[in-house]
C-alpha cells in the first residue's frame, strides 16, 4: 500500500518536533527513515501509524486520507524498539492477539500463527513466555505479531537497536529476505546509516525535524544534497575553500572552480574513493605523508597529512595497498578526482539543494 506524507508538522506544546515533511512511499517499498537522535524520524513513523496526530498536514495510505482514522483501524503493524511483547502471554497468544481482537475463527488463527511461526523460525517456542527467550527471538515474535493480521503497512522503530552487532548483520539480511517474500510496504527508523544503506530501497534523511534528502542509497551517497547528508552518510572530506583566479584554494590544495565568482568562500566535499594515491611523488600534484592506516576488512582507510597539517581521508583496496608497498609514515602524492560544492558563502545550509560540480582535474585524469 502506498503512503503519502504531505506538509506534515508536529508540535509538542511549544516544541516543534517535525516541520513540513513531504515524501511518498510506493507500494511494496522498503524505506528507511534515517537521522541522528532527536531528529523527528520516530515521530513521523508514529504519525503514519496513528500513535501521534500531526499538528498540520495530511497522511494518505492507499490514497485515502487517514488523519481522522484511529490507530485501531489503520491496519498497520508496528514493532517497537523494545518489542513490547505481552509478558503475561505465551508466544502463541502474543502472535494471535490481533487476530483474536478481530474475531477470527479459532481454526484460522491456528493456521495463521503456525504459518508465521514457520516463516519466522520460531518453531518449538509457541508455549514459552517472553522472559524465557533471547533478544533475537523476541524481535521475531514482535514482527510475527505485527504481520499476523496482514497489515497494509509494516512500521519498525529501530528494529535492530537492542541487539549485538553481529546479530544485527544477520537480522538485516533476514529482514531484506522477509520483505522480498512478503512484499509488504515497510518503513523503518534507524540512526545507523550503514543499516539504511544496506537494507532499504530508498532512504529519507532527517535532521532537526526537517527532511534533508530522499533517494536511493546510491543517490544519497554519491549526490548528497547538502553538507549534513554528506557528513551523515559515509565518510566525507569537507574543506572550506576560497575562490581566487578561477580556482578553489585552501593551503596547498587547488582545483578548478567552474562558474564560481572570485572571492567567494565555498565548502566542498569529496569521498575517500575520489582520492588517487601514488608512491611516485611526481605522479600527482599534491604531496602528503601517510600517517595512519585503518583496517576495515576488504578496504583500508588511509589518513594523509599534508605539510600544512590538513588531513585527507582516502580509501584503497588491500591488493593496491600491498602492490604500492605503502606503510605508515611513507611519502605519497595524491589527487582528488571529483568534488561537490556543498554550500556557498551567504547561502542557508540545508534549505536548498546545492548544485554539484563534478570536476576532473587537468593533470593525471582519474585512474
Amino acid at each position: 500500500m502506498s503512503i503519502e506524507v504531505s506538509k506534515i508538522s508536529k508540535q509538542f506544546g511549544n516544541v516543534p518536533a517535525v516541520n513540513d515533511i513531504n515524501f511518498s512511499v510506493g507500494d511494496g517499498e522498503l524505506v528507511a527513515l534515517l537521522g541522528p537522535s532527536g531528529c523527528g524520524k520516530t515521530t513521523v513513523l508514529r504519525m503514519i501509524g496513528g500513535l501521534e496526530m500531526p499538528t498540520e498536514g495530511d497522511i494518505f495510505i492507499r490514497g485515502q486520507r487517514v488523519n481522522d482514522v484511529p490507530v485501531q483501524k489503520r491496519n498497520i503493524g508496528f514493532v517497537f524498539q523494545s518489542y513490547a511483547l505481552f509478558n503475561s502471554m505465551t508466544v502463541f497468544k502474543n502472535i494471535a492477539f490481533g487476530l483474536k481482537i478481530k474475531k477470527w475463527r479459532k481454526a484460522d488463527i491456528q493456521d495463521r500463527v503456525e504459518d508465521l511461526v514457520r516463516l519466522l523460525e520460531l518453531q518449538g517456542l509457541e508455549k514459552r513466555y517472553p522472559h524465557q527467550l533471547s533478544g533475537g527471538q523476541r524481535q521475531r515474535i514482535a514482527i510475527a505479531r505485527a504481520l499476523a493480521a496482514k497489515p497494509d503497512v509494516l512500521l519498525l522503530d529501530e528494529p535492530f537497536g537492542a541487539v549485538d552487532a553481529k546479530i544485527r548483520q544477520e537480522l538485516r539480511q533476514w529482514l531484506v529476505n522477509l520483505h522480498h517474500d512478503l512484499k509488504v510496504t515497510t518503513l523503518f527508523v534507524t540512526h545507523d546509516q550503514e543499516e539504511a544503506m544496506e537494507v532499504s530501497d530508498r532512504i529519507v534523511i532527517f535532521s532537526k525535524g526537517r527532511l534533508e534528502q530522499m533517494g536511493t542509497p546510491r543517490e544519497v551517497y554519491e549526490q548528497p544534497a547538502n553538507e549534513f547528508v554528506a557528513r551523515f552518510v559515509g565518510v566525507m572530506n569537507i574543506l572550506e575553500m576560497e575562490v581566487r583566479d578561477g580556482r578553489a584554494r585552501l593551503n596547498e590544495l587547488e582545483f578548478p572552480a567552474h562558474g564560481l565568482a572570485d572571492g567567494q568562500k565555498i565548502r566542498i566535499g569529496f569521498r575517500p574513493y575520489s582520492v588517487s594515491i601514488s608512491t611516485i611523488l611526481g605522479e600527482y600534484p599534491f604531496q602528503a605523508i601517510l600517517r595512519h592506516t585503518y583496517f576495515l576488512g576488504v578496504m583500508l582507510r588511509l589518513e594523509l597529512v599534508l605539510p600544512s597539517g590538513l588531513i585527507v581521508r582516502s580509501r584503497i583496496s588491500k591488493e593496491d595497498y600491498t602492490r604500492l608497498g605503502l606503510t605508515d609514515g611513507c611519502k605519497v602524492s595524491f589527487q582528488i578526482r571529483s568534488y561537490r560544492v556543498l554550500s556557498k558563502e551567504g547561502e542557508q545550509m540545508g534549505d536548498e539543494v546545492a548544485t554539484s560540480y563534478e570536476s576532473t582535474l587537468s593533470i593525471g585524469e582519474g585512474i
Binding site: 496513528g50 485501531q72 498497520i76 493480521a149
Partner: protein, 289 residues
C-alpha cells in the same frame, strides 16, 4: 588445626565492598531486637492472654452475639471498602502513570492525604459533613438517611483512611511497565477497554493483589476514624476493633484478647501472603531480562 575467621574466607574482591562482619551482625541484631520487643512479644502476649482462662472460655467469648455482629460488620465493611478502593486506585494510578495533565501533583497529594491526617480527624471530618449539625445534616435528616452512627458512615470513614493503599502500589508498577505494550495492543485493533483488560491488568496483578491485602488489613483494623463516626452502639455499629476496646473496659481480662487474637491472625495471614507476593515478583523480575 587452622581455623580461619569467616571474614577471611571471603575472597578479596568481595571484601572490598562488604562491611566488616561485625557491622553486619550488629545491624541484624538491632533489627531483630526491635522486632522482638515491638512485634513478636506483643503478638505472642495476645494469644497467651486470650487463652489465660482456658480454651472453652476463648470460644465462648467469640460466640457472644455482640461479638459475632461485630465480626459481621467488620467483614461487611471490608467487603464494600476494598472493591471501592480497587476501582478508585486502578483509575487513579492509570491516569497518573499514563497521562500528563494539570493537577496531577494535586491528585498525588490528595491520594497521600489519609496517611498524614490523624484517623480521629478523618472521622470528625465526616461528622462535620454528615452529622446532625453538619453541612448536609438537615438535608439527610429530612430524607431519613442515616450516615453517621450507621453503616454508611463506617464505610465512608474506612474507605477514606484506606484510600492510598491500592493506588500507591499500582502507580510505580504501571509506570515501570510503560505504555509500549498498550500502544502495541491498539495498533493490533484493541479498544481502550480491551487493552486495559487483556494487557494492563495482567501486567499489574501482583502489585494489585499486594495493594488489596494491605487495604483489607487496614480496613478491618481501623479504630480511630470508625470510633468517631460509629457511635459505639453494641450489636449494631461496633466493629471488631471497637468491640475489643469495649471488652477491655469491662471486667473479663481475657475477653478483649480473645477477640484481638482474630486481628492478630489476620495480621499473620496478611504477612504470609505479602511474603509470598514479594517472592513471586522478585522471581519474575529475575527471569525478565
Amino acid at each position: 588445626m587452622k581455623r580461619t575467621l569467616k571474614s577471611e574466607r571471603i575472597s578479596s574482591s568481595q571484601r572490598s565492598t562488604q562491611e566488616p562482619a561485625l557491622v553486619k551482625w550488629l545491624l541484624i541484631a538491632v533489627a531483630m531486637a526491635f522486632s522482638v520487643v515491638f512485634l513478636f512479644l506483643p503478638i505472642i502476649n495476645v494469644f497467651v492472654q486470650a487463652f489465660s482462662k482456658g480454651a472453652a472460655h476463648y470460644w465462648n467469648v467469640l460466640a457472644e452475639p455482640d461479638t459475632l455482629s461485630a465480626i459481621r460488620l467488620t467483614l461487611l465493611t471490608a467487603a464494600i471498602c476494598v472493591p471501592l478502593n480497587v476501582i478508585f486506585g486502578v483509575a487513579a494510578s492509570w491516569a497518573i502513570a499514563k497521562f500528563e495533565f494539570r493537577g496531577k501533583s494535586v491528585l498525588l497529594t490528595f491520594i497521600d492525604l489519609p496517611f498524614s491526617i490523624s484517623p480521629v480527624v478523618s472521622g470528625l471530618m465526616f461528622i462535620l459533613l454528615f452529622g446532625a449539625n453538619g453541612l448536609f445534616g438537615p438535608f439527610l435528616q429530612s430524607h431519613g438517611v442515616k450516615i453517621i452512627f450507621a453503616l454508611p458512615g463506617i464505610v465512608l470513614a474506612t474507605t477514606f483512611v484506606t484510600f492510598p493503599f491500592v493506588a500507591r502500589e499500582l502507580i510505580p508498577v504501571m509506570q515501570a511497565t510503560g505504555s509500549d505494550q498498550e500502544q502495541v495492543a491498539m495498533t493490533l485493533g484493541a479498544s481502550g477497554w480491551q487493552t486495559f483488560w487483556h494487557i494492563t491488568l495482567p501486567s499489574v496483578k501482583w502489585g494489585l493483589l499486594y495493594g488489596v491485602i494491605l487495604c483489607n488489613a487496614r480496613a478491618m483494623g481501623e479504630f480511630g476514624a470508625v470510633s468517631v463516626v460509629s457511635g459505639h452502639i453494641a450489636g449494631l455499629t461496633d466493629t471488631v476493633p471497637l468491640r475489643i476496646e469495649k471488652l477491655y473496659n469491662e471486667f473479663d481480662p481475657a475477653a478483649p484478647f480473645a477477640v484481638a487474637s482474630l486481628l492478630a491472625l489476620l495480621a499473620l495471614l496478611t504477612l504470609a501472603i505479602k511474603t509470598f507476593l514479594v517472592w513471586k515478583t522478585e522471581r519474575r523480575e529475575r527471569q525478565a531480562r
